[in-house]
Structure formats: structure tokens, C-alpha cells
């Protein structure tokens, strides 16, 4: 199906990948260490913190968008950066949505590995630092999974992307906001077409990552 739209679908698709990719990397860079810390360390209130993290899986994207909007609006505390309605603002909002996912999945992965190898590691008499690294290596597949789920949430997300990006043609229009625009205009066939593009792109990314994993490059 040919998509006769006034904007460049390729460029829109690339921006979707760029925004989701950056947010996934940032969200993983924060969430994975945070999750490892919560998962491996024993401290008071750990259960509560885990519950909060899991609850945040359901953090409403529009609220994340609104938070970033308020912070980076000209009337907000970081208004002078002037990043509202740019891909950067979208990345920050999406990062907020990724962090709970990467944190939570990391907690689960490292906790499982920790239980199974704790005794072995202990019996070998390794230092705490070495044992943490061992656990992280063993939990690697889970950590990649965390990042992939984060990416999935970003690329399919519309509320935050619209709120802080503004769906500006040629600047901040991504696949999801383009789908929303087409739906609003009653052009359901175009909306579905773009939806197929989105699913295909996400599928390609996941296949590529799985390939890397199978070849043990990741």
C-alpha cells in the first residue's frame, strides 16, 4: 500500500528509532545499575521499593510527558534550555518511562541468579565485588530483555511523544503521533498502514538483537 502523505515516512520512522533507541540506552544506563543495587543489596524498605518500582510499570505516558513539559516549558525551571518540541525532550520523557521497566526486570533477573549461584560463589571465596560481576554476567540475558521491553514501550508510546514533541512535521513527528494524526483525520487505512510499518520496524530490531544474542555477540 502506498502511503500518500504530506510528510516523509522514512524520516518519521528513523526519528521513531532514534528517540526510542536513545531513551532505551539512557533508561538502561540508569535502570540496570539501580535494579542490580536493589536486587543484590539487603536493606530496610527493600520490599516497598520493589513494589513501587513494579507499580511504576503502569506510569501513565501522558503524565511523564506532562512532567517533562512543565520542567522544560519556557515558564518552567529549565525553560532556558529551549528543548521543548525537540527530539531531546521526547527522549527525556521516554527515558522516564523506560527506567521503571529496566530497573524492575533487572531486580528480578539478578535476584534469581543470585539465589542459584550465591553458595557456589561463596564457597569459592570470591570478594563481594567479584561476586556482583559474576551475577551480572549470569543475568545478562535478563538485562538484554529489560532493554528490549523498554524499547518496545518507547516505540509504541504516543502520549508523551505528542505532549513534549508536538507532532511537528519534519521535526518531531514519529510513527505513533503520525498514526494518531491519520486517525484523527479519519484516514484509518493510512493509520493502519503506518501501524504495520511500526510493527515491522520493531520486529526487525528484535530479530537483529536476537541474532546478535545467538551469535553470542551480545
Amino acid at each position: 500500500m502506498a502511503l500518500e502523505v504530506s510528510y516523509d515516512v522514512i524520516q518519521v520512522t528513523l526519528l521513531s528509532l532514534y528517540v526510542s533507541g536513545c531513551a532505551t540506552i539512557l533508561g538502561s544506563a540508569i535502570g540496570i545499575p539501580l535494579g542490580a543495587l536493589i536486587g543484590l543489596k539487603e536493606f530496610g524498605g527493600k520490599g516497598l521499593l520493589k513494589t513501587i518500582t513494579y507499580t511504576m510499570y503502569g506510569f501513565p505516558p501522558v503524565v511523564a510527558g506532562l512532567a517533562i513539559y512543565y520542567l522544560f516549558s519556557r515558564a518552567g525551571p529549565f525553560g532556558s534550555f529551549g528543548i521543548l518540541f525537540t527530539p531531546t525532550a521526547m527522549i527525556l520523557a521516554e527515558t522516564l518511562l523506560v527506567i521503571p521497566l529496566t530497573t524492575g526486570i533487572t531486580i528480578t533477573s539478578v535476584a534469581e541468579v543470585d539465589r542459584s549461584i550465591k553458595e557456589t560463589v561463596k564457597s569459592l571465596g570470591t570478594t563481594p565485588r567479584q561476586s556482583v560481576l559474576t551475577v551480572m554476567r549470569e543475568a545478562w540475558v535478563g538485562l538484554i530483555m529489560a532493554a528490549m521491553i523498554g524499547f518496545g514501550r518507547c516505540i509504541a508510546e504516543v502520549g508523551a511523544a505528542y505532549m513534549v514533541g508536538g507532532n511537528i512535521q519534519g521535526e518531531t513527528r514519529v510513527l505513533t503521533t503520525a498514526i494518531m494524526l491519520e486517525t484523527r483525520m479519519g484516514r484509518f487505512d493510512y493509520a493502519i498502514g503506518l501501524g504495520i510499518v511500526l510493527i515491522s520496524v520493531a520486529m526487525a530490531v528484535f530479530f537483529f538483537l536476537r541474532l546478535l544474542q545467538e551469535k553470542e555477540l551480545l
Partner: protein, 334 residues
């Protein structure tokens, strides 16, 4: 803990760097917040390239509800507004958030309803009368009305009509849910709901025609149109550049001057879609309208200056000579 600190610092560094790269000086860019109807109808795609070519600039269009568009202007996030919510616009300007409010064009709202028209709105003498009939039949269980209920310009217009019948906003919000559905959705979605619910609604004609064009709402007809109370006035407002010095006030003013000049008004007039001229230019000095070739809409020959009485004509017509003088004071009434 050190890892987290590093990660946070890295995040801040990356975003600061990105912010720097992405916000390099772009003197020829205009940010315009507008309503979804101007974008969804295709009008902006039709008229803006002319301006962009002539002024060698790029207009970034952010199409949201009128309420949010005004909020973006208030917060200094855009340079110029193209909106259709007269009383909210008045509040905006009198609060000192914007200047040079100028009417530039209008289109029409229509009352649409199901084929069999259970409320008899086709025989209504006015839009007001049609609403009264929907209300009476609704409370009696014979008709359903779907309201946008989303703070949009269209919602404001609907509330204005109810208010002219003596139903204030609180009363309307408390209308029985059995017949008065408050959707909180965009125009297209509300029309789709009406199709399914055999309901009435107030719609801008462009969105209605676009939905008819793709055969999504085969059972909805226009049951009342052309009443001056259904005129949908769009105005351009410049965001206060004294309050927000970063604003591209030169280009914003250029845009206002262009769209209210003969050149801009002519482009608006020639936009035809779904077999209809969707917008009628009426900037000060350009209120006389002529139907364009191929389509004669008798509504165009009505007295377009009659207005909706919500806005004093003098206020719209007089180009504000006090531009850039802050009125009101700082944001949020501080």
C-alpha cells in the same frame, strides 16, 4: 551508588549536549500553536508553503486543542497562535499574554444528527431552537447528544449555545448521562460515536465533510446550518514578546501581516476540499466574500460581520497599537 551517580551525570551531559546541538540559532523559524481543525482539514498544508517560500522560513505547527494552544502561548512555548475560542482568547489577551489579536477567517459549525432526526432539528428555526429540541427530546428519552467535553473551541461554542438557552456550564455538566454523553474526545472520534449511537453533535463542517468523504458516517446528516450563531471565528494572536524575549516576534508579526493581507486572504479563499470552500477569509478590510468558481454556498453571503456577539467587533478590528506593551504583569498573576 557510584554507578548511579555516573549514570545520572552521563544522562545530564548527553541531554545538555543534545540540547545545545538541537537549539542552535534558527532565526527563521516560527512556532505556531493551533487547533487540530486547521491541520486536519489540510488548510495549513495548503496555505503555509506560500508564506514559507516568500519569507524563506519554516513554520513548526503544533496542532492541539484550543485550550492547550492558549496555555502554550501563556507559557511562552510558541511564537504565535491561530485559534478559535473567542472568549478564552479575550481572557488570554486581557491577561497580558498576547497582543495584536486579529480575526483572519471563519468557517461554520453544523449540527449533525441521525437520518430520522428524532428531535426534529431540521425544522428548528435557529441553532438555539435546535439545541432546545435536542434537550427536550433527550430528557424525554428520544434523542442523544454527544459533547466534545474537552475544553476545545468547539466545546466552548457548544457551551455558548446552551448558555444562550439559560443552561450554564454547571447545569450542562450535570445533564443526564442517558442522553448527554461527555466524550472528552476529538471531533472525528465524536462523529464516529454519533454514527454508532444515532446521536446529535455540534461539529465544524470541515471535519464532518472529511468523515463523509471516507464514508465513515453514512447515517449522519447536517440537520442545522448557516445560523450566524454557528460561525466559527479564527484569530491570530502574537505571544507577548516582552514577557518572553526569546520569541521570534519579527516573523510572528510578518505572519500576521501576511495572513491578513490580500495575498494571505486569497490563498485561504481558494482552498477547496470535499467540494466545499472550507474557510472564509475575513481579516479587517477583507470582509466581503465572493464564492469561488464551482461552488456556491449561500451561507457565504450572509452578514459575516454580525459575529457571535461574544467578541466586540471593535476589539478585533482595531489592530492593537499597543503591541509589546505588557498588560497584566507576570505569569500566573504573580
Amino acid at each position: 551508588m557510584a554507578v548511579i551517580a555516573v549514570a545520572v551525570v552521563a544522562l545530564l551531559a548527553v541531554s545538555a549536549a543534545a540540547a545545545f546541538v538541537l537549539t542552535k540559532e534558527e532565526p527563521n523559524r516560527l512556532r505556531m500553536a493551533t487547533t487540530t481543525s486547521t491541520q486536519d482539514s489540510g488548510l495549513l498544508d495548503y496555505i503555509l508553503p506560500t508564506f514559507e517560500t516568500e519569507y524563506n522560513c519554516k513554520i513548526s505547527v503544533i496542532a492541539v486543542g484550543s485550550g492547550l494552544a492558549l496555555e502554550m502561548g501563556k507559557r511562552g512555548d510558541v511564537d504565535v497562535l491561530l485559534v478559535h475560542s473567542p472568549s478564552a482568547e479575550q481572557t488570554f489577551v486581557s491577561g497580558g499574554y498576547g497582543t495584536n489579536r486579529t480575526q483572519v477567517m471563519y468557517n461554520w459549525f453544523v449540527i449533525v444528527g441521525p437520518d430520522r432526526d428524532p428531535a426534529g432539528t431540521k425544522d428548528a428555526t435557529s441553532a438555539k431552537d435546535a439545541f432546545q429540541r435536542i434537550h427536550d427530546n433527550g430528557t424525554a428519552g428520544h434523542a442523544v447528544f454527544v459533547s466534545r467535553a474537552d475544553g476545545s473551541g468547539t466545546h466552548a461554542k457548544e457551551l455558548g449555545i446552551w448558555s444562550s438557552l439559560g443552561y450554564d456550564n454547571t447545569t450542562v455538566a450535570a445533564f443526564g448521562t442517558s442522553w448527554y454523553k461527555q466524550a472528552g474526545q476529538g471531533m472525528g472520534a465524536v462523529l464516529d460515536m454519533c454514527e454508532d449511537l444515532n446521536a446529535y453533535t455540534l461539529s465544524d463542517d470541515a471535519t464532518y465533510y472529511s468523515r463523509v468523504d471516507v464514508a465513515l458516517i453514512p447515517h449522519l446528516n447536517i440537520t442545522k446550518q448557516g445560523d450566524s450563531a454557528l460561525k466559527n471565528q479564527y484569530s491570530v494572536i502574537l505571544v507577548n514578546s516582552t514577557m518572553w524575549p526569546h520569541i521570534n516576534k519579527t516573523l510572528a508579526k510578518d505572519f500576521l501581516d501576511w495572513i491578513s493581507s490580500k495575498a494571505g486572504q486569497d490563498v485561504i479563499k481558494t482552498y477547496v476540499k470535499y467540494g466545499h470552500q472550507l474557510f472564509v477569509p475575513n481579516a479587517p478590510g477583507f470582509t466581503s466574500t465572493t464564492a469561488i468558481t464551482g461552488f456556491v454556498d449561500t451561507r457565504l453571503f450572509e452578514d459575516v460581520t454580525a459575529g457571535t456577539s461574544e467578541v466586540p467587533e471593535a476589539m478585533l478590528k482595531a489592530k492593537d497599537t499597543r503591541a509589546d506593551v505588557p498588560r497584566g504583569g507576570a505569569i500566573d498573576g504573580a
